[in-house]
Amino acid sequence: MLGRVFNGMGQPIDGGPAILADAHMDINGLPMNPAARAYPAEFIQTGVSTIDGLNTLVRGQKLPIFSGSGLPHAALAAQIARQARVLGDNETFAVVFAAIGITFEESEYFINDFRRTGAIDRTVVFSNLANDPAVERIATPRMALTAAEYLAFEKDMQVLVILTDITNYAEALREVSAAKKEVPGRRGYPGYLYTDLATMYERAGRRQGKKGSITMIPILTMPEDDKTHPIPDLTGYITEGQIILSRDLHRKGIVPPVDVLPSLSRLKDKGIGVGKTREDHAGTMNQLFAAYSRGKDAKELMTILGEAALSDDDKLFAKFADEFERRYVSQGNSTNRSIQETLDLGWELLSILPRRELKRIKPEMIEKYMPKEQ
């Protein structure tokens, strides 16, 4: 299956031969027994500072990208698929990519990117394009996940599943539900949308006694960039965090435009620290968040009242927020930063701030890692 392209119903469309099946599996899957799960705790280095440093991805996690129309989520997803690796590990890695109702161009972008970087040899593509039947769209992610389960739990591979775009999936579900004359819930989506999405998302994970894992990155475009719309809202309640892209940052030319503050990885605390990344990771991460939040507040105040109204500390925080966006967040789509580089850059930025404000980092850590002033 690796290296092949299938349509939304699992038939090959790349001109290659038909698949000789090793196993037939029900695409609906079965709920995983919570007692059989293994807790995700292995750090995945994506090479993207805002993810590695602040919203760490771990193996077996489901971390969606919340985007909007016209934002470069495809570039970020492709970058993650290209760069993701587990530190000090040579296990077989595979990507399962499901295009759900996206355009030909978008789909080609991914496939070409995989081809260009040679990743295609370890990739399975399921493609349901915008002009394919909507009913197939409901099956496509399940096809992809079943393939991923096979690769992960039968073939011991580390599988990264990218599903794009979940909004199209939910819309197809609504279309089918309306045709079945079901009572609609919020915004016309069926009342069981939560349960339905959960049966897909929850298929990510690790199992005890199995080497393989499924890490999932669903991408969804938020209608009107509204996070409270049912699709992102319900997704956020199921997945273990979210990466949110911001239109403001995109306009400012920051690449990738990850909006750090509302982004979150719920599993980060288990994947970082001594033996996984570095001992100073947790402290600096919290400090960067808190400082950036305060810096943004200060900048807001500055636009209303002018710079003179800020206290000296707040001026430093405002400067920090600018530098943070410019250097930490904006790294471009081809830079692959190691976690050490990311952490060191964090320290460099924190050195802008007065030391007494660094309450969230242990003093020993400050001594050890803070760059010495020239």
Partner: protein
Amino acid sequence: MSGTITKVSGPLVVAEGLADANVSDVVRVGSQRLIGEILNMTGDRASIQVYEETSGLGPGALVETTGMPMSVELGPGMLDNIYDGIQRPLPEMRALTGDNITRGTDVPALNREKKWDFVPVAKIGDKLVAGDVLGTVQETSAILHKIMVPYRVSGELVRIESGEHTVTDVIAVLKDEKGKEHELTMMQRWPVRIARPYTRKYVPSRPMNSGQRIIDTLFPIAKGGTAAVPGPFGSGKTVVQHQLAKWSDVDIVIYIGCGERGNEMTDVLMEFPELKDPRNGEPLMKRTVLIANTSDMPVAAREASIYTGITIAEYFRDMGYDVAVLADSTSRWAEALREMSGRLEEMPGEEGYPAYLASRLAQFYERAGVVECLGSEDRQGSVTAIGAVSPPGGDISEPVSQATMRIVKVFWALDSSLAYARHFPAINWLTSYSLYLEGLGPWYNEQFGEAYMKNREKAMHILQEESELQEIVRLVGQDALSPADRLTMETAKSIREDFLQQNAFVDEDAYSSYLKQFKLMALVLRFDSLCREALDKGANMNKLFAIDARERIGRAKTVDVNEFERVYAEIEAQMQREIEEVIAGGEDA
């Protein structure tokens, strides 16, 4: 007694020919013998909610009634275990069917083979009534399981067995007034939708120590009380629930994962056996029962999981224990209710939820409370119910949040803007409340003197004032404030950062004893009062705010349990000295 299916719609099955069955009977559906429950009956037509995935079922399949209401098995073997929503033990299901949950699996809730060492307490000839203790079993190293006479059974004890027995062995025989003999086992059954009886209910008067500073000091909950934790996704509901499950000073914790993430349950499963109870050093798992109905498991069982959990809690309460029930999340439960209601084609209420949503929620929370247990012995137990609410879009004007707020006495409102700034626990101090303050006040006064509650009031006042001052700052800038107001803002910041913020992932900070909370709050407020005096004496404001002792206050919360009293005294002395130096320096030095 069996009927045939005429309609299947998701988890709802309609069957005919069940004239003898009753509402809320458990039925077995189809050849896979899926477990279901009758929701309503019209003539011989029954609407059945099936607790397992129904794909593959069709009209014509057989439905069999068991003639019994939906019940749980109560007895030794529940602690340290993890169940699904209808009390099937997940580890044993895994051994039977592999990593995934297959349908129609039938596993008894309590292990039938395992032998427990039963130690009789009652003696032959004793006159016993329901609720009296027959004997005990050391179920886990932390908990002594009391085997009680079941409800509606009483009489003279004519036989009692000691030693190793399974839960189905007869361990005692009671002879009632009519001379009829009742054989008793260590296991009893109880229908989940009916509250277990008790002698009398009391008004809660003792606080539940959670070790969380914002909860214990600002918005305390009483043992036997009810609380809700609403918040949008990512605001830390689950972390708050986990912290409560870990550190609450109750005897038993029932954690219900209702329609939430599988990995969160795994987290509890992996972490709790490692964590030690700060009071007795035993692993936390030894006092915990987990009910896991993750979001990918069947939706109807989600509805049942809440009842299964609270019934088990009531059973332990009847032994005289303090029990906490943590339900994460009641919104998923309400959604399951909505889904079933929609399929039953009932008239919908607000936002499609059934009209009985509020009364069902009230019924659940009313099962909490401090009670005098049944039986001739004087025994008090309590059930504390804490439910997470996940309002869509974080908007608490929706029906589930509103119905919950009308019932519960404590409201810890989580705030996404606090969460974004990584202020955890992200409980908003302005919108949260606790109605137990008055009832618990005497307890605090007795333990720590009146200063505790006075400090609390003062802190709340400062936080309140800060929010007003912030409005002004937003309009005209910080310079417009008087030095006294600036000080209020500084102190409020210190309360927020140095007291309220608590890191669940730092060992020294995850749990704060009452004494530590009290001393830390006193320290933060001491800064405020010293500075106020200094400002009156004409000290330089900026210098006051920049004294070195403040950095130490900022780190004070992570000081080790055994050292904090000494360290806090040191910090206070240093603060006093430094402030005096600033005063001596005068206005402009």
